[in-house]
Amino acid sequence: MKRRRWAWLGVAALLCAGVFGWAALAGVEQGAREELFAIPEGTWARRRAGDNVDILPSQIRLTLGLNDVLLLKNLDSVPQTFGPTLLMPGQSFRLPFEVASEYQFACTAHSSGQMTIIVDPFPASPLARLRWRALRLVDSIRSI
């Protein structure tokens, strides 16, 4: 019994080491740099009907060199205050970031009246990649 328990512990430790090793050493993919948030057509009508439509999270996390461009699009048929700006129908707003920092924007769409954009530095070292993946995992769990 004791031997079996040790065997399971060993397998678990190996698995953990594998996951941590991958998270720290595997490279991060560099695809499209834009993080897109769009107001779909009909949003205004849904809001008028009392539907609480929440499109833009109050906190957005970006990473330099990976997804460091915030792209907001208004696909609705009326002007919309979207994040930090007012967008006309069919208009987009493309905001690039070059410095890792925390940015605060006034935003009437959120109850706090603010929207936070956290721009992380590019995860160049194994430790940074580990932290970056952990933060992404936490953000994904939060958004569920």
Partner: protein, 201 residues
């Protein structure tokens, strides 16, 4: 081998056509210079306004067409954001040298109760004497803010009050199009970069 005059003229025209086509293609292929500010696509006409100018008389956006306008919103009692923004704009304009004369900074108050034309003139002159302030009736200023999606909220502070407001600066090109919005905290160099692009268009 000898060419006749007609052949030469044909050759000359063909070479000229090819050169023109190459030049056009290279212009089409060239990526437009990217701004560091957030860009509106497609750009629309910047909403106009008619306010009281800190320099006296009427302040309109139309009057400054032909210049690149940097439009901000704030108030003279602002403890941090407005002085920082205005100092950055003054530095950027200075760094542009002679080109800076083609840049007009307009700062519209979110606190008309305290910011009359004279107070704005004195305050803005501390940063750059060419900066213009805009003030007016509260409803006039609210209407301008709404057109730009700018927020302003009065908050009590002890016996007085402060005004929380949007802190970005709008970039309006020579033709009067609202091209971009620079978030608070960007450096004078970022402004210089974008202003050079807009001024050279």
């Amino acid at each position: 081998m000898r060419f006749s005059m007609t052949d030469r003229a044909f050759l000359h025209r063909s070479l000229l056509t090819i050169a023109t086509m190459c030049a056009s293609l290279s212009l089409l292929a060239a990526e437009p210079a990217a701004l560091k500010a957030g860009v509106f696509e497609p750009p629309g006409a910047a909403p106009g306004f008619s306010l009281q100018s800190s320099a006296g008389g009427e302040l309109t956006l139309a009057r400054h067409q032909g210049k690149v306008v940097l439009l901000g919103f704030g108030f003279t009692s602002c403890p941090e954001v407005c002085p920082t923004t205005l100092a950055v704009l003054a530095q950027a304009r200075k760094r542009l040298g002679l080109q800076g004369e083609q840049v007009q900074v307009i700062y519209i108050t979110v606190d008309p109760e305290r910011d009359d034309a004279a107070r704005m003139r004195g305050y803005l002159a501390g940063f750059d004497p060419t900066f213009l302030g805009g003030t007016g009736k509260p409803e006039q200023l609210t209407a301008v803010r709404q057109k730009y999606g700018v927020t302003a909220e009065r908050k009590a502070v002890g016996n007085s009050y402060s005004v929380g407001h949007s802190s970005s600066v709008y970039l309006i090109d020579r033709k009067g199009s609202l091209r971009a919005m620079m978030p608070y905290g960007r450096s004078p160099d970022d402004y210089v970069h974008d202003l050079r692009i807009l001024l050279n268009e």
